[in-house]
């Protein structure tokens, strides 16, 4: 199903002038935050083949909170010379507002409305393009 998903998303992205820029994984076990244990790392490899600058983000479960002080993400970039993912520095745009926004959305349960391709396969009425998320963080917060 991953092939089906990636192909369709790719076709959609191309038509919208977008590109699949990366992949994020969230480990099931609270304490797993290493890249070796990340689920489906092969998908990240595939995505990188199509987009050289792809990033691989792993959710750091321990940092997820209702009052974010730091982004709960570990981001990796691909080093072509060593053929592996290595930790990358990243910065947030508008750090304070972003962290506050994310914390608020978490508090209000916004994550329950995000739909992935898997949800779409369960019921085709589910929109995996999540159009409602295509607004500024400020406007999103008003929704909730």
């Amino acid at each position: 199903m991953a092939e089906i998903a990636l192909m369709q998303i790719d076709a959609y992205a191309e038509s919208a002038g977008l590109v699949i820029a990366g992949y994020y994984a969230a480990p099931e076990n609270f304490y797993d935050n290493q890249i070796e244990k990340a689920p489906a790392a092969k998908i990240a490899d595939k995505i990188q083949e199509n987009f050289k600058n792809a990033c691989f983000a792993i959710v750091d479960n321990k940092l997820v909170s209702l009052e974010h002080k730091r982004a709960a993400l570990q981001v990796y970039s691909y080093a072509t010379d060593s053929n592996r993912w290595s930790k990358a520095k990243y910065s947030l745009v508008n750090t304070a507002q972003t962290l506050e926004g994310v914390s608020l959305l978490l508090k209000r349960g916004a994550m329950r409305d995000v739909i992935d391709f898997d949800n779409h396969l369960d019921n085709p009425e589910n929109d995996w393009t999540n159009q409602f998320l295509n607004q500024s963080l400020k406007d999103l917060q008003k929704l909730y």
């Binding site: 089906i4 085709p124 009425e125």
Partner: protein, 293 residues
């Protein structure tokens, strides 16, 4: 799922809880919120269901780290059934939720000692191993458990998931076959088995996968995953080194599957041009017929 707490009466909440119990749905956050808002004060009115509701609330409270609620409900059960092994299990679950795994294991061992035929504490021990990240130990224990409790479907399902996480697809397929034996008419199990076989790869496995996907579609023509799966299998077989007749057959079947998938999606999907994205699959997988024999 948006539940309107203000408008729900205690009997509505009780019915909702019963529905979730019957469907084996967890809904922990909703259960806790509804409990606190509506049912807690009125639970004595629920008669025979009271104990089932208390158990449901305990599990939901442990899921959402509301240890106060969990302890409170456990005390109520404990007062009515002193020395009950069933209630003791909840005490172990509370320790497990607090990550005091050694203490939890002691309680569970005590329950197992008192009653060898009790399946629940054995499974909780396996759950603790899983939580600690000791997946291989969990697999070993679960195998030992299944030698004694062979008809526990839930356990076979769990073992299948553990093997999948370890990449042992052959063993996972075997477990899923056990689940299928108990549910021969379930389109979901046929499809999941097909998924595992497809992942294993190779012409033989993919032919098996194709059979299972077909059966899934026969049982439920709307199973999108089965339709896509059938498309993938047939495309692979159409491009493999099989006899030309079989390849043509697979090609036709692949076309049919993709059309079915397109039809089911287009009818319901709110996404613009969804059929275009699905059609792109055709060009990616389907049209590689030109091969020199």
């Amino acid at each position: 799922m948006s539940l309107n707490y203000e408008e729900m009466s205690w009997s509505d909440v009780r019915d909702q809880f019963r529905k979730w119990r019957e469907e084996s749905g967890r809904h922990s956050e909703d259960v806790v919120q509804l409990w606190v808002a509506v049912l807690e004060d009125k639970v004595h009115k629920t008669g025979n269901e009271r104990h089932l509701i208390l158990e449901q609330v305990i599990v939901a409270a442990l899921d959402t780290a509301r240890f106060d609620i969990a302890t409170n409900c456990t005390k109520q059960l404990s007062a009515e059934f002193p020395g009950s092994l069933r209630v003791m299990k909840f005490k172990a679950m509370r320790l497990e939720a607090l990550e005091q795994y050694d203490a939890a294991n002691e309680v569970l061992d005590a329950i197992i000692e008192k009653d060898e035929t009790n399946a629940a504490p054995r499974k909780r021990k396996i759950a603790i191993m899983k939580a600690r990240g000791l997946r291989l130990d969990a697999i070993k224990e679960l195998n030992a458990y299944l030698k004694k409790f062979m008809s526990d479907q839930e356990a076979w399902q769990e073992l299948c998931n553990l093997y999948l996480a370890e990449g042992e697809f052959g063993k996972a397929a075997f477990c899923m076959e056990e689940v299928l034996l108990h549910n021969p008419h379930s389109h979901l199990i046929h499809q999941r088995l097909a998924d595992i076989r497809y992942t294993m790869g190779g012409v033989e496995n993919i032919e098996i996968a194709r059979t299972y996907y077909s059966q899934a579609i026969k049982l439920n023509p709307h199973n999108l995953r089965a339709l896509y799966g059938l498309f993938l299998c047939c495309s692979y077989l159409a491009n493999s080194k099989a006899v030309s007749l079989k390849r043509k057959e697979s090609q036709k079947l692949a076309q049919w599957a993709l059309e079915q998938a397109m039809e089911h999606t287009a009818r319901h999907s709110p996404i613009d041009n969804n059929d275009k994205w699905i059609a792109s699959l055709d060009s990616a997988f389907g049209n590689l017929e030109i091969k020199s024999n």
